[in-house]
């Protein structure tokens, strides 16, 4: 389980995160939603240690990530898998090399074990035959899948996905969402997904946190989402024509 307590972050005179707390449970996909500029990505970066919050705590199964020493932080980081918005695949490596990279860097497995594990992950995301291709030779959806394969190759306890659907068509988006949800359940991972995609919310929104102006203003699931009485959330979801028509 991941717990965040009173996370605050300011850039200059801009208060991006104004005391956000919450918890993320194993085996569940928690979506963090909100309009652009509400601090979703900054919150994710604070959670994974790419941005240091001004205040607050991030606890991974009770272990404080922000105050731990470098070795403790490294140990927690090695239990994380992150899917970046642009997939962040290494351009100079093939798909297979990208997936096996964490194994090369962080484990002492034999060559065969590394290849087998990487291939297993690629097969899990439906790209078993794409290992020899370069990232520049595959589509955006495939890159996301490779990103997921790389994120799960070390059997992470925590999976973070930053806008996994950005730039993808609705069909591919749903496939990516379903894949994330399946993997979360299958491996009992604590998954946090940053998104503003309504389809994702309806598809995999087991638990949803809505951020507005750096604060958490609503928490619920996909069923309660459209019946909420929070004005900012209603404005956010009613921007989607489909939802407006569903409500009618």
């Amino acid at each position: 389980m991941i717990e965040i307590k009173n996370i605050e972050k300011t850039f200059g005179d801009r208060h991006v995160l104004a005391g956000i707390s919450g918890s993320f449970e194993p085996g569940k996909t928690t979506l963090v939603i909100g309009t652009s500029g509400t601090g979703k990505s900054v919150l994710l970066k604070c959670m994974i240690g790419l941005v240091k919050p001004d205040k607050g705590e991030v606890l991974y199964d009770g272990r404080n990530f922000l105050t731990g020493d470098l070795e403790d932080q490294k140990a927690i980081r090695r239990e994380m898998g992150v899917l970046f918005q642009g997939s962040a695949l290494f351009d100079s490596k093939t798909v297979l090399q990208n997936v096996r990279f964490p194994l090369d860097m962080l484990t002492d497995l034999s060559e065969k074990e590394k290849v087998d594990r990487s291939q297993e992950c690629l097969q899990r995301v439906g790209l078993g035959d794409a290992g020899d291709r370069m990232p520049s030779e595959i589509s955006g959806g495939m890159k996301k899948r490779v990103g997921i394969a790389r994120a799960i190759v070390l059997n992470p306890k925590y999976l973070f996905c930053d806008e996994p659907n950005s730039g993808l068509d609705p069909l591919t988006s749903i496939k990516i969402d379903q894949l994330i949800s399946e993997i979360t359940e299958e491996y009992q991972i604590t998954t946090v997904v940053i998104t503003h995609d309504m389809n994702s919310m309806m598809e995999i929104g087991e638990k949803i946190m809505f951020l507005h102006k750096g604060k958490k203003v609503w928490e619920g699931n996909s069923n309660s989402l459209i019946h909420s009485d929070v004005k900012e959330l209603n404005e956010f979801i009613n921007a989607n024509k489909l939802i407006r028509e569903m409500e009618k």
């Binding site: 994974i48 240690g49 790419l50 470098l70 932080q73 490294k74 140990a75 980081r77 090695r78 994380m80 992150v82 970046f84 918005q85 642009g86 962040a88 695949l89 290494f90 351009d91 990279f101 964490p102 090369d104 860097m105 962080l106």
Partner: protein, 243 residues
Amino acid sequence: MSRLGSYFIFLGTLFRNREKLRVYMSLILNECTSIGVGSIFIVALVNTFIGAVTCVQTAYNLTNPFVPKNIIALIVRDSSILELAPTLSCIVLAGKVGSNIAGELGTMRITEQIDALEVMGINSSSYLVLPKVIASVLMFPLLVIMAGFLAILGGYIAGTLAGVISSEDYVTGLRVDYKPFGVTFALIKTVVFAFLVSTISAYQGYNVRGGALEVGAASTSAVTNSCIAIVAADFVLTQMLLT
């Protein structure tokens, strides 16, 4: 001043919390190929012509019949070894290697590849930059040794073909008053230049924020700042080692 401080902090991060040594070996070899082998052509071309031009221009300016012709070869030799081969080659390499390092790291930064390394618990600056610095420090001197030979050869070919100096005079001139320390001096300079070019360019690329425009600006700054650092260090080292 704050940028200078940030540059030194960046240098510190290269050597702290490094990965296992075996990780760096293949990376260093790859960088040696890219930086060293990939730069042979341009360094060879520039230095051969610079040697040729130095020879012909020196001959053009030596109008006094009492000055022996072999002085031309001596001037080509000393200017090539002491200044042209190390400094000019490193300026050329700042353009080729420096912009490449800054562009590569800058692109990795804006496409979140560096963030991906960080979240895996890998020291990204050490993993990405240290092999480039080591490869530069190893390969630049080899390129400069080649550059020195080719500049002198270029002078010989141009001088004899243009008829400004005979083959015998050129060879004699090369052996007149030769000081081996000149080569040591050139290699010391080159190692310093290699470190400056690779670290300054890496610093510019690694700290890019923004998009493609900023990566382009970082590449330009990498080359400009590297060239400034080279000429400044050239002066300081010349003062320290030759006076």
